[in-house]
């Protein structure tokens, strides 16, 4: 294969109801780094129906060029419609790298395309870099339930494709002055292959998620004290997109329901971020949370055992720190 025929870093821009998803902007940010390392361009593949007005935003977030595909058939994501469109686009433009968000859309479209193109796809990457020697894409991803990291390359096939977990890459700061081009592309659809019909899309308030599934847990113990204290934790959890959990003491006291309890007789959790507010860290509690990815503990007793498992410990007053932290985070957004 003549790799020189394949150029530029392409990003599949995910939109839902015409709204560009955050992961797409994160991918543009990463694509910018990769393209700069290669001396190539960042190209956004933007598919949908009547979405042209949003194309400029993609340039402001790092794209050099937007390939715009507008068609009523692409209003909502459906596998075959999108596969046909993106496949033709890729065959026409010959990208070197194509990135997708590791979402229910990207993880549906990516493999379908990879098989149609006969190329490799690396799922759920957390790190992407260009090899200094070979200029090939190095894709790093967790495997074995996150116990192992693997770096993967796709050197004999093009394009090199990967899906990237949302929230992992950094978007570029929006720059209104950035200039770029918008190119229209019109794929030909083989409608005979549209065998699955989308009946409806339903958005639902999923409500409280199971604390065992939460990525961020804001947990409170005796030091939080009362219902009002937990309302403050709720506010912080909302800002961080997390859930509130509790030590056994507060469940026994009737402040929190049992399904929120972390620990030996409650649930075992391993979120990305675990806040332990006013939890001393009895062994039963630690057993349920010590495998959390990052633990921040706040307690007024500097000898509290929770500090032994915490990645960051603060000796201080929970009731002062929580509201201030919530405020700061809110204002940042």
């Amino acid at each position: 294969m003549d790799k020189s025929q394949y150029k530029n870093v392409y990003v599949f821009v995910e939109q839902r109801d015409g709204v560009i998803q955050s992961v797409a902007l994160e991918l543009l940010g990463k694509a910018r780094n990769l393209a700069d390392a290669l001396g190539e361009k960042v190209i956004a593949m933007f598919l949908g129906d009547k979405i042209g007005n949003s194309a400029q935003a993609l340039i402001e977030y790092g794209a050099d060029e937007v390939i715009l595909v507008e068609n009523a058939l692409l209003k909502d994501y459906v596998t075959e419609q999108y596969t046909q469109a993106v496949y033709q686009l890729i065959m026409h433009f010959n990208p070197s790298i194509v990135l997708f968000g590791a979402t229910t859309i990207g993880r549906d479209l990516g493999p379908r395309l990879a098989a149609r193109l006969g190329t490799g796809l690396t799922a759920d990457c957390t790190k992407l870099e260009i090899s200094e020697d070979t200029k090939e894409l190095m894709m790093t991803r967790p495997a074995f339930g996150g116990n192992l990291m693997a770096t993967i390359m796709c050197t004999e096939h093009r394009p090199q494709m990967s899906t990237v977990r949302p929230g992992v890459m950094q978007k570029c700061a929006q720059d209104n002055s950035r200039k770029g081009t918008v190119t229209k592309f019109e794929p030909k659809f083989d409608t005979a292959k549209f065998k699955v019909k989308l009946v409806k899309t339903v958005k639902e308030d999923k409500g409280l998620i199971d604390i065992a599934d939460a990525k961020v847990l804001v947990s409170g113990g005796r030091g939080v004290g009362c219902k009002e204290g937990f309302d403050k934790l709720r506010a912080l959890a909302d800002v961080l997109g997390g859930e509130v959990s509790s030590s056994r003491a507060m469940v026994d006291a009737g402040v929190m329901p049992h399904d929120r309890q972390v620990g030996q007789t409650g649930k075992t959790v391993r979120p990305d971020l675990y806040f332990a507010f006013g939890i001393s860290g009895a062994i039963q509690h630690l057993a349920g949370m010590e495998e959390s990815e990052f633990i921040i503990a706040v307690n007024k007793d500097k000898f509290a055992p929770i500090f032994k498992v915490a990645d960051l410990g603060i000796v201080g007053d929970v009731n002062k720190i929580v509201p201030l932290l919530t405020d700061r985070l809110k204002n940042k957004r």
């Binding site: 030996q264 007789t265 062994i283 039963q284 630690l286 057993a287």
Partner: protein, 380 residues
């Protein structure tokens, strides 16, 4: 000689272990606390065929062996001894005597319902004045025309009130002593049959243990199990099988307590290190696990002999004696290893200690087991 489980037995172990962990363990503390029969678990077990493990397929059973049955009772009891004994009493004390002594009509009538768990089974032998000395039966059965008429009381009956069919031992001719004892099949809906006082127990508190009352209870003539006068032999043989079940229950309790203690002593830190790092802990635990493993070998050996249809009476007694005493020792020490926490209901070991005690008592006390073993040793 082969000590390995067969592939089938291993697959069964995988299933029952997952079932016990996911469906049984979460309820163990609750049913103990509320002294509640675990009907929801019974329904789930029925669907899987756990009430007919060693019952042949031709009678609606799973067609498994007694090794699988011991694995089931062990794994259930490892999480919840109550659940273990529900299966054990049903299988060993009701389905087994019907399978082994019933007429073809009786087997076809009762076994499919028992094996599917549609009906739960129980067994009535013990009376206020006939415990270890089972020959002192005061419940009577008299043939009147086409019916047997039963009168008397049975006590401490496992699954009482939840069972649909009971194997009942009664005196048909007092002058003949043991040879005057006969076994019967009694359905729970029979007029004259009722459930008396429910016992409040130390352990296995979710298991229903109650009195059975027979007051001119008339059952069809055909519900005679085995021969007239053959009841004592049926009861003894049934208990031989039952002891394998109870030994499995004791074994499960002991292993469950070991698991909890290993976990706890690794997590619990004193003087700057896990208490599992202390040699005292390690040596005591090593001794205990050795006993648990020895109990397991005795249990499986007895079950194997039963499957091979060779005499296993003394083997079952040894298995039950050793497993029960091991369970008591392990659970007592497990509480000790847990310290103050072990004495609270926050941790399961206190429940396991209470549950373990019954295994030294029912289906023949440890003293009875020693009598059986000595009987074999010295010849009766």
């Amino acid at each position: 000689m082969n000590f390995n489980l067969t592939k089938t037995q291993q697959l069964f172990m995988q299933m029952i272990r997952e079932f016990a962990e996911k469906e049984v363990k979460p309820l163990a503390a609750e049913i103990d606390e509320q002294e509640r029969f675990p009907q929801e678990t019974v329904d789930k077990m029925a669907k899987l065929g756990l009430f007919g493990i060693p019952v042949p397929k031709q009678y609606g059973g799973a067609g498994g062996d007694n090794i699988m049955y011991t694995i089931a009772v062990e794994e259930l009891s490892r999480c919840c001894a109550t659940t273990g004994v529900v299966v054990s009493a049903h299988t060993s004390l009701c389905a087994a005597p019907i399978l082994e002594n019933g007429t073809e009509e009786q087997k076809v009538k009762y076994l499919p319902k028992l094996a599917s768990g549609e009906w739960i089974g129980a067994f009535g032998l013990t009376e206020p004045n006939a415990g270890t000395d089972a020959s002192q039966q005061q419940t009577t059965a008299v043939l009147e025309g086409e019916e047997w008429v039963l009168n008397g009381n049975k006590i401490f009956i496992t699954n009482a009130g939840h069972a649909d069919v009971y194997v009942i031992i009664a005196m048909t001719d007092k002058s003949l002593g043991n040879k005057g004892i006969t076994a019967f099949i009694v359905e729970a809906t029979t007029p004259g049959f009722s459930i008396g006082k429910k016992e409040l127990k130390m352990g296995i508190r979710g298991s229903a243990t109650a009195e059975l009352i027979f007051s001119n209870c008339r059952i069809p003539k055909d519900n005679l199990l085995g021969k007239v006068g053959g009841g004592f032999a049926i009861a003894m043989k049934t208990l031989d099988g039952g002891r394998i079940g109870i030994a499995s229950q004791a074994l499960g309790i002991a292993q469950g307590a070991m698991d909890e203690t290993v976990k706890y002593t690794k997590e619990r830190k004193q003087f700057g290190k896990s208490i599992s790092a202390f040699q005292n802990t390690q040596f005591q635990m090593a001794d205990l696990q050795t006993k648990v493993e020895a109990a397991r070998l005795l249990v499986r050996s007895a079950a194997f002999k039963k499957d091979e249809h060779v005499p296993f009476s003394a083997d079952a007694a040894m298995a039950k004696l050793f497993a029960a005493e091991t369970a008591m020792e392990v659970t007592t020490k497990a509480v000790q290893f847990h310290g103050g926490y072990g004495y609270t209901r926050e941790y399961p070991v206190e429940r396991m200690m209470r549950d373990a005690k019954i295994t030294e008592i029912y289906e023949g006390t440890s003293e009875v087991q020693r009598m059986v073993i000595a009987g074999k040793l010295f010849g009766k």
